[in-house]
Symmetry: C2
Subunit: 419 residues, 2 copies
């Protein structure tokens, strides 16, 4: 089955807004096993919309359209699509009542132009919008389908799996396999290495697809099974997942919707562990990521950003002599920072990072990207050196990722004290 995507809006063709819907829809289609033959963006222009629709309909089985369903005069998608199909327009009483009820619920002032959002081409199948006033619709013509949904990403993101995909699966039963996906999140492994590790896994023989999505600083590996029954798809996915874990297990830190910081936060909270963090080159990014997780105050007692050397001494008790002898960026300093922050905070764990983010500050012995990460666990302190090779921001992100990963490995019992 072939799919076309048409996103509509002057904000796209003027470059004012980055179109994220095309990519979102393309990925969802890929997961269904449907090929995207083309994606077009045009402005709110009747002729351009019709020409783009005609171009796509000549090449695909279904076109998914987003944008231009708002109440204002420049939103013309419904009228343009109706015109392209030679259809008249009608007002749907149920949708109109839904919109009016939403206005009352949120105490919004009703203006007559909002009634426009209840207008559809004759014969359209309504696609409900649980998050907004702009309902979508679908039209069928000569075995082809055009499905139109709003351009607001939060609304499109929900209406796609709940409204559009079920509609397409029903309309094209030959394409209606049960599709299940499963995501592994990895760090520290380039695509070529993943390919190599997975070479003998024979997922293709199992009928499971594998996709690799770079997502700096992570890589996401997505398994897709398309089968005639949901049970078979799930079973194949479980088997494929085992093969991935056997080969890449130590690089996997999260699956599905989990995140690294989220997993760390969950384990810390469940086990009632407490943490203090001392950051130099990451500048607060580690605690920023941890505090993005709701409820992180349960385990994060404090963070200190010791950018100056005096702060390392005053707040963490790192002796000036150590900094002088080994340098602020050294394993010795990192260890003492981790132990110092743990002790002063009275927490179970102390995590510390010191390094050279760049662009300046590097030396021959310690070039830009040199980072030391230490975890003080009470009885022992583990410290690891890293050499990142990016610009400043990416070095910070890599260092924060490596630090959270060290913590995660400790929590899951996989961190070895080999230093």
């Amino acid at each position: 089955m072939k799919i076309g995507i048409l996103t509509i809006g002057n904000e796209l063709t003027s470059g004012r807004i980055q179109d994220t819907n095309s990519s979102l829809i393309a990925r969802a289609m890929q997961e269904q096993g449907w090929a995207v033959a083309g994606m077009i963006s045009v402005g709110d222009d009747d002729d351009a919309i019709r020409a783009a629709l005609a171009h796509l309909l000549a090449r695909v089985d279904a076109v998914i359209v987003t944008g231009g369903l708002g109440p204002t005069a420049d939103d013309i998608t419904t009228a343009a699509v109706a015109k392209a199909f030679g259809l008249g327009l009608y007002s749907d009483p149920a949708v109109l009542a839904h919109i009016r009820a939403r206005f009352e619920k949120f105490h919004l002032k009703w203006t007559e132009n909002n009634a426009k959002q209840a207008v559809f081409p004759e014969g359209a199948e309504i696609i409900p919008n649980p998050n907004g006033t702009a309902a979508g619709f679908a039209l069928r013509r000569e075995g082809r389908i055009v499905a139109v949904i709003p351009g607001v990403p939060a609304e499109a993101r929900r209406m796609l799996p709940e409204g559009v995909i079920p509609l397409l699966r029903k309309a094209f039963p030959e394409a209606a396999l049960h599709v299940e996906t499963f995501t592994f999140k990895l760090f520290g492994l380039p695509e070529a290495a993943v390919d190599e590790a997975m070479a003998d896994a024979d997922l293709a023989g199992l009928g499971v697809g594998i996709g690799f999505y770079p997502n700096f600083p992570e890589n996401h590996l997505v398994l897709t099974a398309r089968e005639s029954s949901a049970d078979v798809a799930a079973e194949k996915l479980r088997e494929a997942g085992k093969r991935v874990e056997a080969r890449l297990g130590k690089h996997i830190f999260a699956t599905g919707e989990e995140t690294l910081a989220g997993n760390v936060a969950r384990w810390m909270t469940e086990r009632k562990f407490t943490l203090a963090v001392a950051e130099s080159c990451t500048g607060g990014l580690i605690t920023d990521r941890l505090t993005d997780i709701p409820g992180s105050s349960a385990f994060l007692e404090r963070g200190v950003v010791t950018y100056g050397n005096t702060a390392k001494t005053a707040l963490l008790g790192v002796p000036e002599a150590v900094i002088r002898e080994y340098g602020a960026v050294s394993a010795e300093t990192a260890r003492l920072m981790a132990e110092g922050v743990r002790k002063s905070a009275g927490t179970d764990l102390g995590l510390a990072v010191t390094g050279i983010a760049g662009p300046s500050g590097g030396t021959e012995a310690k070039p830009v990207g040199t980072v030391f990460i230490a975890l003080a666990c009470g009885e022992t302190t583990v410290c690891r050196p890293y050499a990142f090779r990016w610009e400043r921001r990416r070095n910070k992100v890599m260092a924060s990722q490596a630090a959270l990963l060290m913590l995660w490995r400790y929590l899951t019992g996989e961190l070895r004290d080999d230093g």
Copy 2:
């Protein structure tokens, strides 16, 4: 003049990579005053490329194509475009020598497929690539132009203004006005309020265009002047800029390529001010943003993330009684945090944030999004209450922005102690 954009690559139609080139090019065209009539993305597929090119060429004066210029077998853009124009291919000796030199310079192993990047359609005009091996090219046909550049964003970003736009300006002299743009960065003002403030500025009468680009948590206002001489364009832009500053000056924190954190860092460094930061709800995001600026160690002595109340007391000397009486999220606590971190660090300034990021922790009196920001300047401490209404991450970003803005206003002498 009308422009079409064609981005090519299976990574786009599979949703694996978000296409950012279309938006980048669309915005550059908008600034030139050229309308983008359509943007198409297709996979590395000969037929799809030719059909998309034909669709666009029927509607526009020039098509800008990105992607599919790599050395591997799946990169077929050059061959597909040549075929669409009925042209043969040739190998360009100068480009081949340039590619070989690059391989030698970076000590890369030469493989024969790299010679493919020196192959162009007959009669093509080469567009040099200063950042990579894939040169671009342009073809002319019946008064229309097709310009092809690589899909790597860093390369496209540079070749667009240096190669493609000059070529189009030369080819379409009627469109070759001098274009100058100027960007103002604002915070805390919705688009409607900007519209209202600018209503009597009559920039249209001056012949200067105004664009408004939301860039959470900031809004960017871009002025564009298109004139027959660069001097006239610059002069009109200066006059328009004055009118913007007169109306919106207090909301502007940066212009051009400047950033809020960068401006703060520059002023702090120039005036040899030192800073210490105490963060609760922002969790380290403020120091993270400041330490993104190279050289920030010159002014940032330390940051502390006092997520627990005991840390507020132990590290900042906020009396337990104050937290008990007024709450950890209160003006009283924010002031004492700012003063405490300033005193303990011995810095000129102390900046503190405490608040409720959400989703839980809100009360009727202090709902989610309640934030207090304080700046201790020595002789005085300024504290302001804020009420943000977003989810957790956006509340953190807004709070960090408001805090940096308070600091910026102090540095520029615009902060008033009214509370």
